[in-house]
Symmetry: none
Subunit: 428 residues, 2 copies
C-alpha cells in the first residue's frame, strides 16, 4: 500500500490493475523557433516562409494553439522555459542555470551543493583576453589539476564539459546560490569579484569561497604544463575559470514520480540533458548523429522513436533555430527549419499510428531582435484522439486560430496527461 | 554602477552601452469606448457603426485582441483601469481615487498623507441642495480662506481644481484612507458623517478630523464675502466642501524606474494627469486644443507626436465616448468616435514610420447600461514588427478574432516592452 505522502505527491492517475495500456508521447521542442514577420521574407516569419510539409501535416491532423512558455509578456531563457514546458513551474523549481548545466555534463551534486557553469578563459592582469581561451578543446589535464581542492570547509569539484566549458560544484554546509558572476561576459572586461546578491551570511561565505578558489585556480592553471605548451605554440593559455549562473542544486521530483511515465531525453545541449537528468529521465545518446543539422535531426527522431519501445514519454530537443535567430540570419533560420522538417516525417508516421506527438518551441528568437522575446510560440498536439481544428499550417499566425487558444508552458504536460488518459481526477 | 537594490527593481533590460536605439511608443486610451450591439444602430456597437478608417487601418496593419482591463468579469473604474494598463496592478497600487485626482490638480503630497477629491457644494441644514454649487467657476478666494487650518495635529490643504472641483489633503502622523465619503452623491441627500470603514484607530482619527474640518469649513465658507455676493446675485452659495474617494498617497515607483522609458502624458482630465504625475511622467499641455471634441483630439495627437522627439513613450487620453455612453446617447457616441477617428490619421503615419502605436480603452460604457461594464475592450498594437492578423476593422467583435486573443490590462505594458525589444529576460 502506498503511503499517504507518496500518493499525495503523484499527479497522475494510477493505472487500474497496473496493466492497462495507454498512449505514448513524443514532445519535440524546437529551440527559438518563433519569430516575427520579416520584410525580406515577404512579411512572413521564417517558420511561415519555410517549406514544412511534416509540421503542416501535424498541424492539419492535430489541435493547435499559441503557447506563452512562462506566461504572457515574459521573455524567457531556455532554462526556465523548459522547466515550465515539462511541468515544473520555474518559480518553484528554478535555482539558476549553473546546476542545470552542471547536471548536463555529469556533475555529481547533492542537496545544498552550489553549482556554476564556467568557461576556461585567458586572463592577464585580471582582464579577460579571451572568454573561451581560443576555443580550447582539451581540458582533461587542466580539470584534473583543479580537483578536490578544499578551502574553508568547502570542497570544490570541476567537471569537464565540451570545448572550453566546465562546471564548478561547491560542497559544504551553509552555502547559497545568491552570488554574482565572475564572468563579465565581455572580452576586455575585468574578471568580476563574486559578491552576495541577497546579503545573507551564506551568500557572503559562498562568494568568498569562490573568489579564493578562482585565485588558487588561476595560479595553478597559469603554471600548468598544458598552458606552457599553448603559449609556446602561440595559443592563448586557459589560465582562468570564470564561473557564472550560480545556484543551489534544485530539489526536483522525478518525472516518473510526478507523472508515472518512464521518460527519455534525446538532446545534445548540456542544459537540456541536465534538466532531463535532474528529472530522472534516461538521456539517450543517438547513434548516427553527425552533428550536421539535417542528419542530426534525423538521428534524433529515429532515436526518439526507438526509445518509445522502452519508455512512455520522449522529450526531444533540437537546437539551431535559436542560434540563427540570435545571429539575425532570417534566411538561414528559414532554411534550417525546412531541413529540420524533412527529418520530422517520422513524427507524422508516429502520430498516424496513434502516438501523441506534441511540437512546440521554448521561446521566440526574432531575427529582428537577435534575442529571445516574449512572443508566443506555436504548439500542436497530434495523434491520439485530439480535437482537430481548422489550422493546416504550423506557423505563428496560423496557430493563433487553433482550438487551444493561448496556453502557458505549464499547460503542456497537463494536456499530454489528459490526452493519454492519465490525468488525475479532481473532485469525484 | 547600479546598486543591487536598484537593479533588482528594474523590469526592463539594460541597454547595452546605454546607446542602442529602440522603438518609441504611443499608447492611446479612448475612455469608455467599448459598448454592446444596439438595435437602433442596426445591431452594431457605436464603434462598429462609426466610420473609422484610421482605427481600421491600424487594425489591418497591427495585431488585435480583446482586453479585460482589470481581469475577466471585473467592472472597472477609470482609475484602476488606467493603473492596470500602465502596468501598475491596482491590487498593489490603488489606494483610492482621491490621491490620484489631487495629484492631477497639482496637490503636493507626501507618503502618509491622505487625500480626497471634493466638490464645492450648496448645503442648507445639512441637506445637499446643489452638489456643484451652481457649477461655480471661480473658487480661488474660497480656497484661500480654507488653507493652513490645523486641527488635532492634522494640517489641511485645499487645492483648487476646475469649476466646482477641489482636493483636500491631510498631513499628519497616524492617518488612514479607510474612511467613508461625506458626499451623499445625490441632491436632496444629507451630508454624510465621515466614518472609519476598517475600524482602526488611524481611520477613526482621520474621520474625526475630516468631520471637524468640514464643520469649520462650512462656517468659514457660509460667511465668506464671495458667497454673500452669490446670494445677492441669486446664485447658490458654495458654502460646503464635500470630500469623497479618500485614500493615502500611494507609493508608486516611477515609470522610468519601472520601464527605463522617458514618458509623457497628453490628457485633459485631472485623474489621468494625476496618475501620470504620480508616475513621474511629464504632463504635456497641448497648444491649440479648443475643447471641442474634434480639434481637441487633433491637438492631442499633434502634441503626442511632438512629445516623441524628447520622450520614449507617450500616453494619450481622450475622454468623450465614456460621457456619451453614460448619457445613453448611442448616436452621439457613434458620431464622436467618427470625429475622433479623423484625428487619428497621424497615428497611422506614426505606425507606418515604425513607431509602436497601441490603441485601446479603459473600459466599456454600454449606452444600454449608461454605466461602466465588464465587457472587454478592443486593443491593437501596430507598427514595429508585430505579428499582423486577419482583423481589418477595429471593433469589439472584429478584435475577438485577433492574434492576441483575450488579454488583461496588465498585459499591455509587457507587450509594449516586448515589441520594442526592452523586456527583461527571465532565466538565462
Amino acid at each position: 500500500m502506498m503511503s499517504h505522502k507518496r500518493a499525495s505527491r503523484r499527479l497522475f492517475a494510477p493505472t487500474p490493475g497496473g496493466t492497462v495500456a495507454f498512449g505514448k508521447t513524443i514532445l519535440l521542442v524546437l529551440d527559438g523557433l518563433g519569430d516575427r514577420p520579416i520584410h525580406a521574407l515577404g512579411d512572413l516569419t521564417p517558420l511561415e516562409a519555410a517549406h514544412t510539409p511534416s509540421l503542416d501535416a501535424l498541424a492539419a491532423m492535430g489541435e493547435c494553439g499559441l503557447m506563452h512558455p512562462c506566461g504572457r509578456g515574459v521573455r524567457p531563457g531556455s532554462d526556465v522555459a523548459h522547466l515550465a514546458i515539462l511541468g515544473y513551474p520555474p518559480t518553484t523549481y528554478y535555482t539558476g542555470r549553473g546546476p542545470l548545466e552542471a547536471a548536463g555534463i555529469g556533475a555529481e551534486m547533492h542537496a545544498g551543493d552550489v553549482a556554476f557553469r564556467c568557461n576556461f578563459a585567458t586572463v592577464e592582469d585580471d582582464v579577460i583576453i579571451d572568454r573561451r581561451a581560443g576555443r580550447i578543446s582539451e581540458t582533461a589535464s587542466l580539470v584534473g589539476a583543479l580537483n578536490d581542492i578544499q578551502l574553508e570547509g568547502v570542497t570544490f569539484s570541476v567537471v569537464r564539459g565540451t570545448g572550453h566549458r566546465a562546471a564548478l560544484v561547491l560542497h559544504g554546509a551553509g552555502l547559497s546560490g545568491a552570488v554574482s558572476d565572475a564572468d563579465s561576459h565581455v572580452e576586455g572586461g575585468r574578471v568580476q569579484e563574486v559578491v552576495a546578491t541577497d546579503g545573507t551570511p551564506e551568500a557572503e561565505r559562498t562568494a568568498c569561497a569562490v573568489n579564493q578558489f578562482m585565485n588558487l585556480a588561476h595560479s595553478i592553471l597559469d603554471g600548468h604544463r598544458d598552458n606552457k605548451a599553448r603559449r609556446s605554440a602561440g595559443l592563448p593559455p586557459a589560465n582562468a575559470l570564470l564561473p557564472r549562473g550560480g545556484g543551489v542544486c534544485p530539489s526536483i521530483p522525478s518525472f516518473f514520480e510526478r507523472y508515472g511515465l518512464r521518460a527519455a531525453c534525446v538532446a545534445g545541449g548540456g542544459l537540456y540533458r541536465g534538466i532531463a537528468t535532474l528529472m530522472g529521465m534516461d538521456v539517450v545518446d543517438v547513434a548516427g548523429a553527425t552533428g550536421l543539422p539535417n542528419t542530426d535531426a534525423v538521428a534524433k527522431i529515429v532515436g526518439a522513436r526507438s526509445a518509445l519501445a522502452t519508455h512512455d514519454f520522449v522529450f526531444v530537443h533540437i537546437k539551431g533555430a535559436d542560434s540563427l535567430g540570435e545571429d539575425g540570419d532570417s534566411r538561414g533560420k528559414t532554411k534550417f527549419i525546412a531541413r529540420i522538417d524533412a527529418a520530422l516525417e517520422g513524427l507524422v508516421d508516429e502520430a498516424v499510428a496513434g502516438t501523441l506527438v506534441a511540437v512546440t518551441a521554448d521561446h521566440s528568437t526574432p531575427c529582428a531582435l537577435a534575442a529571445h522575446s516574449a512572443d508566443p510560440v506555436p504548439v500542436v498536439f497530434a495523434g491520439s484522439s485530439v480535437r482537430t481544428d481548422s489550422v493546416a499550417a504550423f506557423g505563428e499566425r496560423a496557430c493563433a486560430d487553433g482550438g487551444l487558444g493561448h496556453v502557458s508552458g505549464t499547460d503542456v504536460m497537463p494536456q499530454v496527461m489528459n490526452l493519454i488518459g492519465r490525468q488525475h481526477l479532481y473532485g469525484a
